[in-house]
Amino acid sequence: MLWYKAWLETRSRFLTSLATLTIFCAVFVHHAQGLLRPEWTTDFNRLLFVTQQFVVIMWILAVVLLGMGGIVREKALGTSSLTLSLPVSRAHLLGIRIGMGVLETITLGVVPWATIFLVSSLGRMPILITQVEFYVLLLVGGGSVYFAMSILVSSLVEGEYTAPAVAFGLALLAAMLFDAWLRPYNVWRLVTGDYYVDRKTHLLSGHFPWFGTLAFMCAAGLMFLVSIKVIQRREF
């Protein structure tokens, strides 16, 4: 039933984000197809690359919002004493919240790109399934660090508006700082596909960056662990 609770808590944010992302992708790609000739494949590939930039922005906004809430927010609302009186460990409570969030973030990555694939196919400008997989894996794998950061922030900051403001601020700050000094490690450039796009064909090329993606997933895992430790030590 804790899964059910996690679902009830996040479903409106999740469904709104899913609908927004999916509709945006469908309309954007369909509209662009109307402006392109079927033989202009490079332009269409470029369009897909641009679409990924917008998807990443919206996806990060969505996953940061999905990471908000939890037991610290419940403390502010007064419901934490009900949750904490259940015979369940705090690690378990947060673990389920993370689990539900991860499932939702994956869905938010897969469904919009599946929509793009369908709309492209119906518009007679089919795209390679490998390109879709590449974009989705970059988004969900590398982007997991954004969700983990929002979970960590929500474990530290109580305010309804303060927590998302801090999370968005950190995401922006990290993007700027890494771009300035540690560009090869910038997660933003990884998830948008910027490192892997062929500037001539505008297709994602080369091997999938498993190492980089796994590194960011490990960073996400570390942030989840820190969040659990914070929640275990916190007083309610």
């Binding site: 059910y4 009830l8 609302l77 419901t79 004493s81 009900l82 904490l84 259940l86 015979p87 275990q232």
Partner: protein
């Protein structure tokens, strides 16, 4: 048979910076009885309850609930399986319906009694499909109580359980508490409603500024506490009445009022030795005991 307290604390203390919310609390709550936990706002009642349930860590001291250490997360979690708790503001998830809330709570406890939950749902006239957020305060209190009473816990901890209830609801609550206690459930509840406490409690603990001031059975309190009103032919000297058991002495002209937690006979004897014109000894209710205790402190 050995006496095994359901709640026991030893020097339990909670400080926030230099402010002590609970100071060296030594509490022992016995099984099969209703123990009332009284105190003014901010006396440390809710902090104590939260420490017992592992929501906050004690600054020092130790405690057990049903023999399980409150500071050990694993033991505390095990303990919560057999303890039902109704928190102060009756927190419930506003996004769930009444029915969803009941289903949610029932999934965590093996001692859940579906028939009792159904009966209470009807008795409390709770609309199953209504969102908790749209319930009145009284309805929310009833739902929170339902979640506790539908179980068969070993210990019921209630923080201000009658808050928001109408007189009918309060009457029902008190009867339920007595019935639960008769079935062997230990009840530990905090309240500001002294009349309610006097009706159902077997044992009373009074907390003031984090210190345990009174820890006795209600019968003992009724038996020991006395107010002695005295009239003297001359203005009396309060120092004459500083004897064991005297909690407070008030003098107004030739009149004196002595509040004693015991030893009333000695006070009467002293008054007679001092040629008191009038000596009246009256038993005192819990309300007076409470007020005198917290005033005294």
């Amino acid at each position: 048979m050995t006496y095994m307290p359901v709640i026991q604390t030893r020097d339990l203390t909670k400080s926030y910076g230099c402010v002590a919310a609970v100071r060296a609390l030594n509490l022992s709550v016995g099984p099969n009885r209703i123990t009332a936990f009284l105190g003014q706002n901010g006396a440390g009642k809710s902090t104590t309850i939260k420490m017992l349930l592992g929501m906050i860590r004690p600054s020092c001291g130790e405690g057990t609930v049903l023999g399980k250490l409150i500071t050990n997360a694993k033991e505390n979690r095990e303990m919560r399986r057999t303890v039902a708790y109704v928190a102060e503001n009756k927190p419930l998830y506003g996004y769930m319906t009444v029915e969803q809330t009941i289903r949610f709570a029932s999934s965590f406890y093996s001692d859940w009694r579906t028939d009792v939950a159904r009966r209470l749902l009807n008795e409390y006239k709770l609309p199953p499909q209504r969102k908790v957020a749209s319930l009145s305060k009284g309805m929310r209190t009833k739902l929170a109580l339902l979640l506790a009473f539908a179980r068969r816990p070993e210990l019921l901890i209630l923080d201000e359980p009658s808050e928001g209830l109408d007189p009918v609801g309060i009457e029902h609550l008190l009867q339920t508490l007595v019935a639960e206690s008769a079935e062997g459930v230990a009840i530990f509840f905090s309240s500001h409603q002294i009349a309610e406490v006097e009706r159902v409690a077997d044992h009373v603990c009074i907390l003031d500024k984090g210190c345990l001031m009174v820890d006795a059975s209600l019968d003992q309190l009724r038996q020991c506490y006395r107010r002695i009103d005295l009239v003297f032919p001359f203005p009396p000297d309060e120092r004459e009445f500083r004897i064991t058991g005297v909690e407070r002495v008030r003098t107004k002209g030739h009149q004196m009022s002595v509040f004693a937690s015991g030893n009333a006979e000695a006070v009467v004897e002293r008054a007679r030795d001092l040629d008191a014109i009038s000596v009246e000894v009256a038993p005192v209710g819990l309300r007076d005991i409470f007020l005198e205790t917290v005033k005294e402190n």
